[in-house]
């Protein structure tokens, strides 16, 4: 696929890296020649220096025969205009823009403004909102390392670390049924000492394993209780950094949780205090020990560091953990830092790019990929497909799971049929129209899985 990416910031660069590895023709446009030079050295992409919404620049980036434009610069307006130019002059089929302002993304205006008559943006992504949702789900499911929604949230994939005190730990997966006769769940993958294990009925879960399982949303907590002692729901949250994400998160959670938010800038803190009703807004530094102690950091359930500076986030989190915070979550943009910190003092490292990329990948992938989630910092993937075709044209329709030749490392974990969740068993037969959720241990296998779910020519 030929893709033009406008903006070589963190989102743009990470997206380019992901897509270039999947054999797409990528051209990146940015105004900063130095950033582009560094990128060109690292990736097999073409780079163009210039303002990404000018027709001339887009032409030299090859927009004329591009399949998609993804505008992810810092400026909403540049992004929207880039999509408009691509649509009006070059009829680019898919146009994705990063739009941060809540005013544009307000549902009331959104549909009137963003359509092919006015501002032709097919997909709007707001990385801040994506990250906010991601953190929100983690807070709603205490103990989970990662929570992903499928089929509009009916079904969830949860990653967690198994702990000795869970009743199922040390037992075979087969015992799942006996423990919970009424609940259907499926373990999609187990990571032990960095390597992936494809689970069978005989696999024994050990202490410290990272387990990914899939279940209906309402059953998630019960399944989790089998794998580790259930944690009390969180109550007390301290958020460090009142930027875009910090603010959105407080706004979304302040009705159900006691939130304190620490913000360094006077003006921003003032603004926050005006816009937030129940949240306590504190002006100060998140790395100030006295401030944290005064605010009862030792009684805090979760400390969430969300400033736009990685080092500050890491330092503040380490300090909060030392002072007695039960859990710390840390926003880390630099993937190298994220690898360094994960699994140490910091309970959960949140990579903003990874979650943003996931929401973009679904649009880039071929066929009827409904959603794509990157897991374990991009090594694994969970995909949701909509199945089409009939027994002749499709390789999966009308076949039981055990008869489908899925590539090694891929697990067909669950399906949703007419809104109802069905956990996949060896004799489950797939029908046309099902949403199938597939867990891929190794991202390299994604192509093969996509091929499996694509429809043969006889369908058309």
């Amino acid at each position: 696929m030929k893709i033009v990416i406008v903006g070589a910031g963190q989102v743009g660069a990470t997206l380019a890296e992901n897509l270039a590895r999947e054999n797409n023709d990528i051209t990146i446009v940015d105004i900063d020649a130095n950033v582009l030079r560094a990128l060109q050295d690292r990736l097999d992409v073409r780079t163009i220096v210039g303002t990404g919404c000018y027709p001339d620049v887009l032409v030299s980036a090859g927009i004329e025969d591009a399949d998609m434009i993804v505008a992810v610069t810092r400026s909403d307006e540049v992004n929207i205009v880039a999509c408009q130019v691509a649509y009006s002059m070059f009829h680019t089929p898919t146009k994705i823009a990063r739009v941060r302002s809540r005013n544009y993304s307000n549902p009331e205006y959104k549909n009137k403004l963003f359509n092919d008559k006015h501002m032709p943006v097919d997909v709007m992504i707001t990385p801040e909102q994506v990250v906010t949702n991601y953190i929100q789900k983690l807070i709603e499911q205490p103990g989970a390392l990662q929570v992903l929604d499928f089929a509009d949230g009916v079904i969830q994939l949860v990653g967690l670390r198994a702990v000795e005190d869970g009743p199922l730990v040390g037992q075979r997966l087969r015992a799942f049924r006996e423990h919970m006769p009424n609940i259907d769940a499926r373990v999609a993958a187990i990571y032990r000492k960095g390597g992936a294990i494809c689970p069978t009925g005989e696999t024994v879960i050990e202490d410290g394993d990272e387990v990914f399982f899939i279940a209906a949303k309402k059953n998630i907590r019960k399944v989790m209780s089998e794998l580790r002692r259930l944690e009390k729901p969180y109550r007390q949250l301290v958020i460090a950094g009142g930027g875009n994400i910090g603010f959105r998160l407080s706004k979304a959670l302040e009705d159900d949780y006691n939130i304190k938010i620490i913000e360094f800038s006077d003006t921003r803190a003032e603004l926050l205090s005006e816009q937030l009703d129940k949240t306590v807004v504190l002006r100060g530094s998140a790395t100030d020990q006295e401030l944290l102690l005064d605010e009862n950091i030792d009684k805090t359930d979760v400390f969430i560091a969300l400033t736009n500076d990685d080092e500050t986030n890491i330092m503040a989190s380490l300090l909060a953990k030392r002072l007695g915070a039960r859990k710390v979550m840390t926003l880390i943009s630099n993937p190298v830092y994220a690898d360094l910190m994960q699994g140490g003092e910091i309970d959960i490292a949140i990579s903003p790019q990874q979650s943003t990329i996931s929401s973009l990948l679904a649009h880039v992938r071929k066929g009827d990929t409904e959603s794509v989630h990157s897991l374990r910092r991009g090594a694994a993937e969970a995909l949701e497909f909509i199945v089409h075709g009939d027994e002749k044209s499709s390789k999966v329709v009308g076949r039981a799971i055990e008869d489908i030749k899925s590539p090694p490392g891929a697990t067909l974990a669950a399906l949703v049929r007419e809104g109802e969740v069905m956990i996949a068993h060896h004799d489950t037969v797939i029908q046309s129209g099902d949403h199938v959720i597939v867990f891929v241990v190794d991202k390299e296998k994604t192509k093969a899985v996509e091929k499996l779910f694509s429809v043969g020519f006889s369908f058309f």
Binding site: K2, D25, I26, T27, R37, Q40, D41, R42, L43, D44, V45, R46, G62
Partner: protein
């Protein structure tokens, strides 16, 4: 430095290169010559050494860094030149010693076209074909061919590509992906070669000669299957075809791509480098023809014919000859070889300093004059209304300086071996500019100069082809420091 990956890439490329020694076998079979075993032995040795490099490191993963790219490129030219000399050394018809075979092989791969062999017309066709093929492979750069055919180098391909591409601006890619870019270049090269061969054939060359000469024309090499070079045919149509394809191959291949892709031939004229190149060719040809005529060397028609051909051949650094230009009035041989320093355009198969660099230098000269008139003016150097980055301008100055320094160092070394000044000067220029024929003792071939002089010229040819810095960087301590 990732030695395992370097070994894997080198081994792989060597295995591919070994396959190119099998095509002469076909030629030998076709003409019923008894040279097949020579090529088979050379093939087996090259293949096995490639395998020895490749097998232990085949599983190594990871990507080539910038430094590895330099090592691979330089080592590959060195290793390839050495192995490329095998068939020449083993051949009974040639009876070449090691340095002569190496000289011939390097001269072929760097598209220089200087030869140590006299009596080409009596050699087996398979060996003649092999020499031409060496030039063809070296013309576009064996690495580009490898990248085009095998998408195995990943991002590292860019590092190698950059180290091998001639010209001042090395970052421009024609298409987003390096494999695709290399592929495009390769296809242009192939099309030009086929067109050239057909044209030669139509103009009366035998099939064998047409293919052989198309290889050395499009690669701006200059090897011929006859001692008298293109002069052997004594055919105006062949000379015209040869001129046309030398000019085309001396243009930037990126320009060919853009012009053909958008079907706008006017793009050639819009490019300042191409314009200067064509302008210099025209002016040079006029001077040469007039001088030939007024000095009474040839009559009018012959002056135009010989003058234009010889100028194009020397300035594009091809090195075909149709008459003994070293015996022309002494202004002309020096004038022609001087023009070979300008060479062809950046991104072409030609040698020399490249027109693009000369253009930027000239603009800088003009800028200094402007500055005297307008001391406060800001005067960036622009090509096609785009400012040339200061880094590029700096790099060009350094390149010029080092080029001249190396040039005179080589002249001195050759003088030290006892050669006369004409020979030393022209032989150095001919090797560093990848030109081929020189003056004095090396006017027809390089067989008579000493072994040490040949070594010096071998390095000169490699330095010229790799544009000096790529090769020199390996001899700096910084490069090897951990």
């Amino acid at each position: 430095m990732h030695f395992a990956i370097i070994a894997r890439v080198l081994g792989m490329l060597l295995i591919i290169f070994s396959l190119s020694m099998l095509t002469p076998v076909l030629v030998a079979l076709l003409y019923g010559e008894n040279t097949s075993h020579t090529f088979f032995i050379a093939f087996a040795i090259t293949f096995l050494v490639g395998l020895i490099f490749w097998l232990p490191s085949r599983g190594s993963k990871g990507e080539l860094r910038t430094r590895d790219g330099f090592v691979v490129t330089v080592f590959f030219w060195l290793v390839l030149s050495s192995f490329g000399s095998l068939p020449l050394m083993l051949s009974e018809a040639l009876q070449l010693n090691f340095i002569d075979a190496l000289f011939e092989s390097i001269s072929g791969l760097t598209t220089t076209g200087a030869t140590v062999i006299a009596g080409l017309d009596n050699l087996p066709k398979s060996i003649l074909y092999y020499r031409q093929q060496l030039q063809w492979l070296g013309g576009i750069g064996i690495v580009v061919i490898a990248v085009a055919i095998l998408p195995m180098l990943g991002v590292g391909g860019m590092q190698i590509y950059r180290a091998e591409t001639p010209g001042p601006m090395k970052d421009s890619k024609l298409t987003p992906r390096i494999t695709e870019t290399a592929n495009v270049l390769f296809r242009i090269y192939l099309c030009l070669t086929i067109a050239c061969a057909l044209a030669y054939w139509g103009a009366g060359m035998s099939g064998f000669d047409a293919i052989s000469h198309s290889f050395s024309t499009v690669s701006i090499g200059g090897f011929s299957t006859h001692d008298a070079s293109i002069g052997f045919f004594d055919n105006s149509a062949i000379m015209a075809i040869c001129c046309f394809f030398m000019i085309i191959a001396g243009l930037n291949f990126a320009l060919h791509f853009h012009a053909w892709h958008s079907l706008r031939p006017s793009m050639y004229w819009a490019d300042p480098e191409a314009r200067l190149y064509l302008f210099l060719l025209l002016v040079g040809a006029i001077i040469t023809c007039c001088y030939l005529y007024y000095s009474g060397t040839f009559d009018r028609n012959e002056s135009i014919r010989q003058g234009a051909f010889q100028l194009i051949s020397i300035m594009t650094t091809t090195g075909f000859t149709t008459s003994e230009f070293h015996n022309w009035p002494s202004f002309l041989p020096f004038f022609l070889i001087f023009l070979s320093f300008f060479g062809a355009c950046a991104g072409s198969t030609g040698g020399g300093i490249k027109i693009g660099r000369m253009l930027i230098l000239a603009k800088q000269g003009v800028r200094e004059i402007y500055r005297l008139v307008h001391p406060n003016a800001l005067l960036p150097i622009k090509i096609r209304n785009r400012t040339v980055p200061t880094r590029v301008v700096d790099a060009i100055w350094a390149f010029m300086g080092v080029y001249l320094a190396i040039f005179y160092l080589m002249v001195l070394l050759l003088l030290a071996t006892g050669l006369d000044y004409d020979t030393a000067w022209s032989a150095t220029a001919a090797s560093l500019n990848n030109l081929g024929p020189g003056l004095g003792a090396v006017a027809t071939n390089y067989g008579d100069i000493g072994g040490f002089a040949k070594w010096v010229l071998c390095w000169g040819m490699l330095l010229g082809r790799l544009e000096i810095f790529t090769l020199l960087v390996l001899f700096t301590p910084t490069f090897w420091r951990k």
